[in-house]
Amino acid sequence: MNAAVIVLLVLLAALAVSVAAGYAFSSRSARLRAMDVRGGIGARQKAFVRFSSAYCRIGGRVLAYGILFLTCAASLFPFLWMISSSLKTPAEVSNTMRLVFFPASPQWSNYARAWTTIDMVGGFLNTMIIEAATIPVCVIVSSLEAFAFSKMYMRHKTVHLLILLSGLMVPYASVVLPLYRAYYKLGFINTFWPLILPTMFGSVSQMFFYIQYQKGIPDAMFESGKIDGAGYLQQFVHIMLPMMGPAIAAQVVFMFIGNWNDFFAPSLYLTNENVKTLQLKLKSLSDGNRMDLPYVFAGAAITCVPLFAIYFAFQRYFVGGLAITGTGVKG
């Protein structure tokens, strides 16, 4: 196994050298190519330029793909390691001498155990209820608020924006006590209200994002609407909303993930087993089993699966859509 590690390190080092070399050449090649375009050089130099620019293009390629591969590997590795570790025995996980990627006999029972000890399905349903109740309203309300900032006349815009943004700057710890008391008095404990209610007024960070996005959509499209006498609401519904698809898709995914992973607020307000979310169930599993790591990893992997499934199913709309349309710039 040590040999494998050494090989891996050598490969990484080679990659790093090629990346560095590629970087050094790519800027030079671009310069030379530019000279070529201007045509201000002689034939011999041209030949050299053609040679070196071809060489450098390869260098640039190696550099670019090198960075991409490394980033991808780094992004993926922890997940693979989690899955690999979830199939080990506790002894294999804490073996300092031998690092194993493929455990000798995969312990699928870890998954069975994690699945049966905690009520995953119930947790999943509760999480989904919160998702369904918060996302649609929050997205629409936030984008409408953003519209008021980005496309409508308003005095002291920056001041308003800063005041609203300041809400983001308050740590939850400092507001939690009065909030808890209020929710308790309202009888909201063990309901989803404390998690849903605050999002009904829109989210500041989403709004801020939409403002940046909407700035990229030309004002002219709305000027014409104004002359036509269309109301602001129609402008928002008929012109702005259809153009915000990618931005909304991105924020829906962000919010979905955010809700999915939200831990503290649910753990404070949901204490009845029937209403606990998936994340709470995972946390209870991980807290109680510091010594039985594979089991914890199995639980973590299970809670990640629906998230990844949804991500892979919708990434086309989200990653693709966002990238193709782009946030754009006001031209």
Binding site: V5, S27, L68, Y153, R155, L177
Partner: protein, 306 residues
């Protein structure tokens, strides 16, 4: 873009009223869920309020427990608390590093992926974004295991025996690494979106002018995507200064990784010392506010808003 001060016309004023009506929804939400509770918190910070001890309603006792700026003074001078507080401030400042690093790394990846001749860009994009999707609790557990002093994969690969999770500086570095890892995808996707929207003609023109790839990036791409970078910077700094789970789950409360919000939770909630915690959170909020206002000010100069 109202550079010239002209008294707005009737139509404009009507528009302004409607805009205000729309954002008043957000104001209602903020007042109920943030501003009023914050007011409480600010009041707490001037008192010796201890929720475990008090049995009477807060306002009926406010005269008795009022201690003025005592809590603020204690944060910096009290023999027991000041050390914890000041250390948490330093830790927070160091961990801020992950914001620029994450943005730089995300930008680099986005710059490469935005090249038209990169193959499998979609696959790369999808995979690089995966860390953002994963749950914070799950990721903290797995990263903690990877950085583990004894069983950690990272020490094994490096052939070292560094105390990633207990050394004052290494634990902070580990958190920065983990957060850069978690942030690259988000930066990448948002920047990529902005980059792909840049008019290709700019690049052609620049190419003709002899600008290299690097120069083109700094001269054209970067200025155009500044609103996105600005957004990432502000939300990144705000989010980073409020970090808590990293100290709690990833570092299991190691002193080298305690953040200001961790301080607020341990003293305010776990020990019911709301006065002291409220003072710390008021200071934190003010600090974040100042940083944000400064960022807005600076952004007037460098953010390309067309």
């Amino acid at each position: 873009m109202e550079k010239v001060k002209i008294r707005p016309g009737r139509l404009k004023r009507k528009e302004g009223r409607i805009a205000l009506a729309i954002i008043s929804v957000k104001y209602v939400g903020e007042i109920v869920f943030v501003f009023v509770p914050v007011l409480f918190s600010i009041l707490y910070s001037f008192t010796d309020y201890n929720a475990a001890r008090e049995t009477a309603p807060f306002f009926s006792r406010i005269g008795d427990i009022w201690i003025g700026f005592g809590n603020y003074k204690n944060l910096f001078t009290h023999f027991m608390y000041s050390e914890y507080f000041l250390r948490s401030v330093c830790n927070n400042l160091f961990m801020l590093l992950s914001v620029p690093l994450g943005i730089a790394a995300g930008l680099l990846v986005a710059a490469i992926l935005s090249q038209p001749d990169i193959r499998f860009a979609g696959v790369f994009r999808m995979l690089i974004y995966m860390p953002v999707v994963a749950g914070a609790v799950a990721m903290n557990i797995i990263w903690r295991y990877m950085f583990d002093n004894q069983y950690g994969l990272i020490n094994s690969l490096l052939g070292t025996q560094w105390m990633w999770l207990t050394d004052d500086w290494l634990v902070k570095t580990a958190i920065v690494i983990k957060n850069v890892w978690g942030g690259v995808g988000r930066t990448m996707i948002l920047c990529l979106a902005a980059m792909l929207a840049v008019d290709g003609n700019y690049y052609e023109a620049a190419k003709l002018d002899g600008a290299g790839a690097t120069r083109r990036f700094f001269a054209i791409t970067l200025p155009i995507i500044t609103p996105t970078v600005f957004y990432l910077l502000i939300t990144g700094v705000i989010g980073n200064l409020q970090m808590y789970t990293d100290s709690l789950i990833f570092a299991s409360g190691d002193p080298g990784a305690q953040t200001v919000v961790y301080f607020i939770w341990t003293f305010g909630i776990r020990r019911s010392m709301y006065g002291l915690a409220a003072a710390a959170s008021t200071l934190l909020t003010i600090t974040i506010m100042i940083i944000t206002v400064v960022q807005f000010r600076i952004s007037d100069r460098w953010v390309f808003e067309g």
